[in-house]
Symmetry: D2
Subunit: 367 residues, 4 copies
């Protein structure tokens, strides 16, 4: 604080005068003031404040990952900040309950007057999506248009710039591809992994065939499912298949990154993989909470406006429900569960390898 | 307590000996005990205990609605009990976070040994669905088979019986159809409502046509949407259209019940409609929380087992996601929002009518 | 919107430019920028926005209760708005988890630079307390000074004005004192209530004396407790005792209001008491959530600054813990549970009385 | 499963027949069945199931800490399990909302018939307290008696045995006292820490003296507070003072353990301290959630029974409130915040030291 003559106060620090004069209900002073409009404004402003904090964290984590070399303590920071994002997302979800105290009939009191403004115009929400790594070409048809068309020129520019920046997805992909020890002094993890997978698949097939509780029809369907499961392992085991799936838009992570994250998931109990495991978990959580938010939001919109067109002209509920599914960024990490094998079947790590994974001081205190 | 010689204790009252000896992990005592199996068992047992409480409340509410005449204080009880169900559902949702502390790899430690048992075999969950009013024929294809095929004969019988009982949906439909005052001494609510609707639709069309922020292509789409909106009002205004929609499976409530609930929604500020309004709100909440649970559960299953087959042979994640959408029971009530019109355009109630809606004592204290 | 040339947008409606430029971390641009300061600012701003919404609702409810005659539908509105306040309070509680992602060490990075600003300077929080009905003379010693001394002259004036306004507590007290039917055509509720109470007390004394599970010492203590319980009933049964308790600061509600609320609690199943019962419940909830917030906040402060002085010089944790207990506004309503008697022992209402409590239309549909 | 002839089912695995036949409301079949008694039973049974899971986790963590040598991956497991406990505690808190749907009047319908059983008789709750490390001599006066006197002989024995076992508190104390690197090759952390502390205290005194916003009276009080703060640092800096505070019951952790945890808090960004930091955080969270639960529970009890004696004869609300404060186990860890100093004033670690704290592989990849 340069100016020592004026003591800082709670109110000046938080700029409350500005903050608390930023609510101007349209219907205030009109013939029919709508009591709930203040709630509507404040809820949305709270969302935007949280969005700003989420962006602050995403930007700082992206910066950390842009470095050439990322130390363990920086991964620790990234984890803490991403976990903070999930805590905020929980609040975003829970505070829908506050907005839902406004009934559809109350909303009708001022809804038409908001036209054509719309939540689709939230620049910060678009930035969050883009910085996480939602690619423009993955957006649903409707939003591909709306996404830009509803924005002012200045806003368009801001959003477009964020498309060009390295997203968290891309940065994490690169970092994962550098996971150490995928190959180590003659120990070939992937060969061992592959053979363990084949054994597991055989065992599962037997279970399906022997299940006494299903009809033949169901069993047949399950066998077909199993064949698909077997085929799905090609995604991580075959370079060609992986490339094909990426082309088809069914996979996004690079093969190296997929292998790296699989190793982290399988050996997360080794000290060296603790933080990376929490990092991947935080990313999955963020994605899951985005999806939960989209789902809950879609339910709320349906409840508020039914099948009618939303403010701003979106087709409303239906679109939101689809988006929840299509707009996942880290789906590959979630789907990694498909490629896990039981700990008991994990290829054992060579002794020399394990020694390298422990903390140095561990070795010393053992002496 | 007849037997005064033995004082009741916390432990005997809650039958803790029985309760706390009902956990027998399969892997306990085996070569590879799975630490997380106890969590898995307890979480599921907690779910079943809550299901029992939900069924207790649903049965009591159904009983209340089976009476010839349902007094205001009984509606009050029904509301309190349904709101209790929503509080329990909130817990069901939140405690998924506990189960998610088990990672997919931890689950693999004992997952195969659970085969072919499956959550699809929860009889109480099926009873909740049936008693709420999910019709067997509305169940998704897969579950139509599984729903019965995975159950023992005794369980099948229990579930089947619940299909024949009057569901909460049916009982509420009948009660709604009896809403008083739809016609009242020459005041024709529906005629006034209809004309108000037509005015509103005209105004909305103007907004769409004048919206400067959308392309012509989008505007065209919105006009088509609006035509659908207009058409959708036929659901409550035309007997033929309503019957058709019921046949097509797009509507479930009877026309009278739809009209009754619309009246309740529109005039919920009148004392007489307070409790009915809370009742409908509680039903919508229950449905929304069921959907949220299915969505969140689907995410958790995907995270736990990826694209692989679920225990018990369900196709897992994909099925659960679809069910969330298809298995709504009170969708008609949610969609009522489509038929609301602004309070300012509501047909005014005749004075004599209003007098009948107030409490008697109000009149007296006014004197 | 007067100016039709400029279409309203999401961003202009929510005044996002203003809102999102109101965060200026002190350490930004300094030699040692503190990453978590942005979080700290935003969390507090979110609190202030919610406070504004709470004040909006409290003011509107106070207005409703200032009227000469309060109709049932206005009570309905008051209930809906107070229940909304509780939903917001839940969020205030839950979002402490976001702030707790900042560790004490992170806070140290900028804590000293905030001095002497302090959360004690939140004018809106003081307004909420005052408008609910916290009397200045009931404030704990420390805060009695701090409460004003830390504010600017302008802020002092605003807070002082709110002390003079009719608080929600006072307005509800007056409204409760007008509860109808305390006396009714020769039926003396209080006489019947009193005799039922005496019977219940006798029964409880027997239970204590016969309890086989406690030592004589404990039993003796329980008998003394019971005598206090008996004495405590004087609060509602004796005018002198009530006046004495009010003088001693142990009771705040007027005798008439206490009797009114007791009647509401005991006969809440009668239609006429439904909304009043929810109103009292909402007030108890608001008080309980304020207390929970103070408790949780005290824990967080202890965790953040330990036993050291808080920013702004408050003695911090210790004060906050005490305040949680002392600053309850609707404690009398919570303590009403002490004066309840089992439904089976409730004096029965005369038939004529019940008829007046029902809705008029009920009578007619019975004919 | 030895017996392959009988396929495992959901119902047999979860022992649902046993579980769901363990609810026998006392008032069922009586002249006045109390609808809410089922809820009351099920809520308490759910609590007991969760208690069993918490005990399972606490026992497994205690086992891990009983080992001579505790590897990093075992700390990782301990952290995951303690964090799981906090997730369960969150549910324990939130589900109070379900029980609160039962009103005091509803409870009166069966409350007397539960006598003399009481929640004080929950053996599992006592075990959780004891295994965490609540010492019998620290229990509040009332509960010191009740704690045993309300239990059956068999229950007493179980509880007493748990008092003799090594508690989590004791095991963590011992483990903390072994924190490596407190002294390291001539680097004396404590000397540097001490001098940094003295500098910080001087700065804070200046702030207090220069604060323009407080009266002289308040300033004088703050200066006294500051002297106490200065004195409080003796707790970690002076062996004599520490011993004295332990004798007085104001501190519980050994001096070595306090120093170890302080080091972990101050250098938590170093990879080696990541997991220990999360461990301490989880312990603080567990303690805070226990306190929150006691606070919320006390509020609920007050609301349910007012000032009257509780079932089982406890003095109820008042006791519970006090216990929340007195029964903290890890208060020393929370109060560590008092001893933190800003990162900028932290003694710098010698290069050699830092090298030992990093992962071995880090060094190699740097080459």
């Amino acid at each position: 604080m340069a100016d020592q003559t004026k003591a800082i106060s709670y109110s000046s620090y938080l700029q409350l005068e500005k903050l608390l004069s930023s609510q101007s209900p349209i219907t205030k002073g009109s013939a029919a003031p709508a009591h709930d409009e203040m709630l509507f404004i404040i809820v949305h402003q709270v969302y935007e404040l949280w969005f700003k904090e989420i962006l602050t964290e995403l930007d700082s984590v992206r910066s950390l990952f842009m470095a050439e070399y990322i130390s363990e303590s920086e991964i620790g920071k990234a984890v803490a900040r991403l976990e903070r994002v999930t805590k905020i997302q929980n609040i975003l979800l829970e505070q829908l309950a506050v907005l839902e105290t406004m009934t559809p009939l109350d909303f009708l009191d001022f809804r038409d007057q908001l036209n054509p403004s719309s939540g689709f115009q939230s620049v910060q929400f678009r930035l969050i999506e883009n910085k996480l790594g939602l690619k423009p070409e993955k957006r649903l048809a409707f939003t591909k248009h709306a996404y830009h068309s509803v924005l002012s020129d200045e806003e368009k520019e801001i959003v477009r710039r964020s498309e060009d920046e390295a997203s968290l997805f891309e940065l994490v992909d690169q970092w994962l591809a550098r996971t150490p020890f995928l190959q180590f002094e003659g120990f070939d993890f992937w060969e061992s992994y592959n053979s363990a997978v084949q054994k597991m698949l055989e065992r599962e097939l037997t279970i399906i065939k022997d299940n006494p509780m299903v009809t033949d029809e169901v069993r047949q369907k399950e066998i077909e499912n199993h064949q698909q499961t077997r085929a799905s392992f090609e995604a991580v085991l075959s370079e060609e298949r992986h490339a094909e799936l990426v082309r088809e838009g069914q996979l996004s992570l690079s093969l190296k990154a997929l292998q790296g994250s699989l190793m982290i998931f399988l050996y997360r109990d080794e000290p060296i993989f603790h933080l990376p495991f929490r990092l991947l978990t935080a990313l999955i959580d963020i994605d899951e909470l985005m999806t939960s938010w989209r789902n809950r939001h879609a339910l709320m919109v349906q409840r508020m406006i039914g099948r009618k067109i939303g403010t701003g002209g979106s087709s409303g509920y239906h679109y939101l429900g689809e988006a929840a599914e299509a707009h996942k960024v880290f789906a590959d990490l979630v789907n990694l569960a498909s490629f896990l094998i039981p700990k008991s079947e994990l290829p054992e790590l060579p002794e020399e390898f394990r020694r390298h994974l422990g903390f140095l001081y561990t070795k010393e205190t053992e002496e």
